[in-house]
Amino acid sequence: MAADHAGAASSPGARALTAIGIAIALGFAGALASLVPAVAGGAAPSVAVPWLPALGVALAFRVDGLSLLFALLISGIGALVLLYAHRYLRGHPHAARLQLFLTLFMLSMLGLVLADDAVVLFVFWELTTVTSYLLIGFDSESAKSRRAALQAMLVTGSGGLALLVGLLILGGVTGTLRISEWIAAGSVAGQVAYTAVFALVVLAAFTKSAQFPFHFWLPGAMAAPTPVSAYLHSATMVKAGVYLLMRMHPVLGGTELWFWTLTVAGSATALWASIVALRQTDLKLALAYSTVTALGFLVLFVGAEIGIAITAAVTFLIVHAFYKSALFLVVGIVDHATGTREAQRLGGLARTMPTTAAAAGLAALSMAGFPPLLGFIGKELKYEAALAIVSQPLVLATLLVVANALTFAVAAVVAFRPFWRGEPETPRMPHEAPRRMRAGPLLLAAAGFAFGVYPELVGRYLVEPAVAAIRATPMEVDLKLWHGVNVPLAMSVATALLGLAIYAAHERVRAVLARAVSALPLTGERAFDASLDALRSFAAFQTRILQGGSLRRYLFATWLVLPAAVGSVLVLRGGLAWPASPSPVPVYAWPIVLLVAAGSIAPIVTTSRLASIAALGLVGAGVSLLYLLFGAPDVAMTQLLVETLTVVIVAVVLLRLPRFSGRDHPGSAGRARDAALAIAAGTTVSALLLAVLASPLDPSLSDWFAANALPAGFGRNVVNVVIVDFRALDTLGEITVVTVAACAAYALLKLRPGASSEQEGA
């Protein structure tokens, strides 16, 4: 998506949104920067407004060392990225939307790191998911972008839901949703719910921060425009998971479970991603995998308890934010200027793009861990921490050296080789980027250099307060460029040598890796695809079974519920009862009963619709006779009238219908099934009726009606008075029903459109 709309001017909307976005970013950055001295002194300014007081949810925000560090990175880099993106997408029809989404994303991210209420944190967490969905899918007409956006949404979204549950459980356990109160109360490791909360929170963090095996969505997300990748997928959103782990460190950290889960997942992620990174030929993908490596390092060190590990994590976080966003922006410029991001086609760009080359070189040196850049300090700290956190550091130290050496090689491939080696074979004549696009990477790369030379600035004002917040105890941090000749330095030298060797051989290594990786039986991405496919086919299968389109089956299933549920409840809950003295059926009623029975069996046996309807008319007539025999002549009259009309009308309609075809009419097995169901339903209703008859009838209402019909209702026919007076509203409703039925029938007969052939299907 190397947007090439050169020549086209930016729209006023895009310009306005860019200006607003940058103003917001700078406003936040300025306000936050002014808090740095106070926070470094141990203060934590906070504000809280009730939001949902009934559940203790408040719009609570708090600035401590950790929030401040993240918020400064988010707003500072945000401003640079917005400036860059404005030029990058100049003339793109949706440029304004990109700036809007980026600004919304930035605000969500700020809210996430500043929130002091668990629900508010979750709200912003999900908002970053939503805004990043819109940003990843920005190139929306490309199927690849849409797929990547969906993948990121589902992977981080499931983590988000886990987070909600975890936070709510924790809220229930602690009786508060205020995160600062959780931290003040300390570890919940002793609680029964600890394991559940831990698992849910860690799942959220691992999905968001692309830990193995959930890492695959991040390289996919490279479908987003490059400024988005630089911002979301290197400096900010992917670090939200790390932020969460750091934030919850005092509450959930310090256990064996925490340590081993994070250490193992972090190292596995770092090592695996650093290997795969080398395999990539697309510069952006190489950077994406190296970001996963960095996230693995961060998780690894947050897993530990000791100060040096946390210091290493925080310092490396800053280091990485600077060099990685700078390099992404550089790749964007290269893409923009040359029309390709393929490592093999790029070369010798330093001549035509000197400023970009300088930015790339500085950032790459920091990434590779050369002194005097901040990256060197970060790497030394990592080694120092690795040696300190486990009693047998050999495995971890080796792993770190290998992963760092691979990162070293990737830095060379991404930012050294394209500028200083070989000749370009690019689609377009390379040219230097416009000033607004150069500003971001240059400033970010320069920051890595400046802070490397003056590390105490970062150490005292940013790292130390953050480390204190994560460990919930103050700790002095003194970042130095030179630590003397020691084991970490030796490891650094080994890293550089190994890295050089890998770089020298990287073309061959790449080919081997490509074969090896594609031979893997299962990757996270394939697992994701397989489960999505499985879901789709199961959904389709289930829907074919449940919603096949046949009314007969719907009717059968719906009727089946009556005997199945009511019948079993009657038995299970002991509801069956037999009337104490069932009044015997008088002899003269028997023929009628048999008539009714015959009428109900006939429709099952016959295949003629007309015979069926006539038989059902027989049932109705029989029931009317029974009413008559048991002393309800008016009800019998009504029933007989309705039955007669029904039979006549339905018969008229049926005469106009075609005969049953074989498809419509069930075979004998189907009919047997239908008969069984009918008998089951009838038995259930009979059992209900018998049980009701077994309990005494409360006659107070009918007595009252009988007593009041004449004096209060002025009518001798009690039923009439009930209908037109005592319960007149029912009658009004029924009149409405009849009227509407007439109107609807009229419309059905008169209003005939051109037939459409669609059917329910499903």
Binding site: M153, L551, Y554, T736
Partner: protein, 499 residues
């Protein structure tokens, strides 16, 4: 006050009479139906204010003392349901002015809508089981009229399934009335609350409760009774689907809530477990059904089913928070779901189809519509800070407090699949490039645009407002839930004294 209680039934029925009898010109008809809806909304709001301030209100029709006549009762739940009914009625009526063709209009469309609204309001306000049955019939016939109006073959196919399956609901409901009357000699809900515990055979009472649960479950589209809904909701004009989607199933949910908090409370653990199982299956099968669909209204139809499960799950958990969650969920869902259907109507209007394969490109072509789709869609999917997020939050919290991790897992898992469906619509209808050749459709005119977009904007604004300021609605739902959990006020308002 007494007039206020019956007004939500009288106003729409009177409007319907005017519309059906006068058969006015298009302009007058539009004015009349809008006026009817506004009047209904006004009456509903007055009722809401009255009930929120003064507690449960009741009236006896014709002054025949309860339980002998028919009682009308408004508690917080009823008043809120009537209000949201009026809102949806207004939104749909306005939308229909642009969508419904003259042929359908002349054959009584607006009148049927008003009768449906009257039936729905009657169901929410009646305090009598048989009278509720009557309003069910009114709704059924009015919805049948709206479903078939136009007489297209696909409509008839859907309507036949709709009516055939809903008749089972009607039959069971009526049988239930008879059984209840046989057991207690009364059909007044408050009276039943007082008399049912005295019935000796409580096992039988539970069985009768299940008869009602099946009857209402069909209306509410619970598993395994929901077949009629996905078979019919995509067939009529969009305004009709939106009206049905918002209101009809919710009458079933309302009835379940009413009956299982006021009348059938004797075997709560057992009926609760039964409802929870039904709710869980409803949520899962509904959301999977949606995942298998490729037409916008069919997807949305299955999502109604799935979402009904959430509401009934709140009823099944039955703690005050869960009931408040169910009430909140129902109110939120009505607004959101009706709105999604309305959006699907504009999509159809702009691309000539709701079929995902035949749509596309609306992200570029209709950015306002795209934004307006995201609000209800992401609210339905439970994204904050929209109304659906809070609704899910309450239920998840209630399930956690009830120590029911399996319910939490279902709530969360179905939530994720809802995200999948909503993003599927988004990706296909809005993001992807439009198919070639593009349907040549006339552009939206100013007036048509206002009539189509006005209701969508209004409903989306409600969704956002609830999301940003959840406290007022939650506090109201919470108070409503407390009324439900402790029906003494309800019974006292109807029967005249505290038992």
């Amino acid at each position: 006050m007494r007039g206020l209680l019956i007004a939500p039934v009288v106003i729409p029925l009177a409007t319907a009479v005017l519309l059906l009898v006068l058969r006015p010109s298009r302009r007058v008809e539009h004015a009349l139906s809008a006026l009817g809806c506004v009047a209904l909304l006004g009456a509903a709001l007055m009722l809401l204010v009255r009930v929120a301030g003064g507690g449960v209100a009741a009236m006896q029709l014709g002054d025949w003392a309860a339980p002998f006549g028919v009682s009308f009762v408004a508690d917080r739940l009823g008043a809120a349901m009537v209000t949201v009914t009026a809102v949806i009625g207004l939104a749909v009526s306005v939308f229909a002015m642009a969508e419904i063709d003259d042929r359908r209009r002349r054959f009584g469309f607006a009148g049927f809508v008003q009768i449906l609204l009257g039936g729905v309001c009657g169901a929410f306000l009646t305090g009598d089981v048989f009278n509720l049955y009557v309003w069910y019939e009114v709704m059924l016939i009015a919805s049948f009229a709206l479903l078939t109006l136009g007489g297209e073959r696909i409509q008839i196919d859907g309507a036949v399934k709709y009516v055939a399956l809903n008749m089972i609901s009607t039959l069971l409901f009526l049988s239930g009335c008879g059984l209840l009357y046989g057991l207690t000699g009364t059909l007044n809900m408050a009276d039943l609350h007082a008399k049912l515990p005295a019935v000796a055979n409580q096992g039988l009472v539970t069985a009768v409760a299940v008869v009602f649960a099946i009857g209402f479950g069909i209306k509410a589209a619970l598993f395994p009774l929901f077949f009629w809904l996905p078979a019919s909701y995509h067939t009529p004009p969009v305004a009709v689907s939106a009206l049905f989607a918002g209101l009809l199933t919710k009458v079933g949910v309302y009835s379940l809530i009413r009956f299982f908090t006021l009348i059938f409370t004797g075997d709560a653990a057992f009926t609760g477990a039964l409802l929870a199982a039904a709710a869980a299956f409803t949520m899962v099968t509904g959301v999977l059904g949606a995942a298998a669909q490729n037409e916008m209204r069919r997807i949305l139809g299955f999502h109604i089913v799935s979402q009904i499960g959430y509401m009934v799950m709140g009823l099944a958990i039955a703690t005050p928070l869960a009931l408040a969650g169910a009430v909140f969920y129902t109110l939120h869902h009505i607004v959101v779901k009706a709105n999604l259907f309305l959006v699907s109507g504009v999509v159809r209007r702009l691309s000539g189809s709701g079929d995902l394969a035949r749509t596309g490109g609306l992200y570029a072509q209709a950015p306002l519509l795209a934004a307006l789709f995201l609000v209800p869609a992401f609210s339905l999917a439970g994204f904050p800070p929209l109304s659906g997020f809070w609704a899910k939050l309450f239920l998840v919290k209630a399930a956690l407090e009830a120590q029911a991790p399996w319910i939490v897992a279902v709530l969360i898992g179905v939530g994720l699949l809802t995200v999948y469906s909503m993003t599927k619509i988004w990706a296909e209808v809005f993001w992807k490039a439009p198919p070639e050749p593009r349907a040549a459709l006339p552009p939206l005119r100013g007036g048509e645009r206002a009539l189509l977009f006005g209701p969508i904007v209004g409903l989306a604004a409600i969704t956002v407002a609830i999301g940003l300021w959840p406290a007022p609605l939650f506090d109201y739902a919470d108070a409503a839930a407390r009324e439900l959990a402790d029906p003494r006020d309800y019974v006292a308002a109807v029967l005249g004294s505290r038992p």
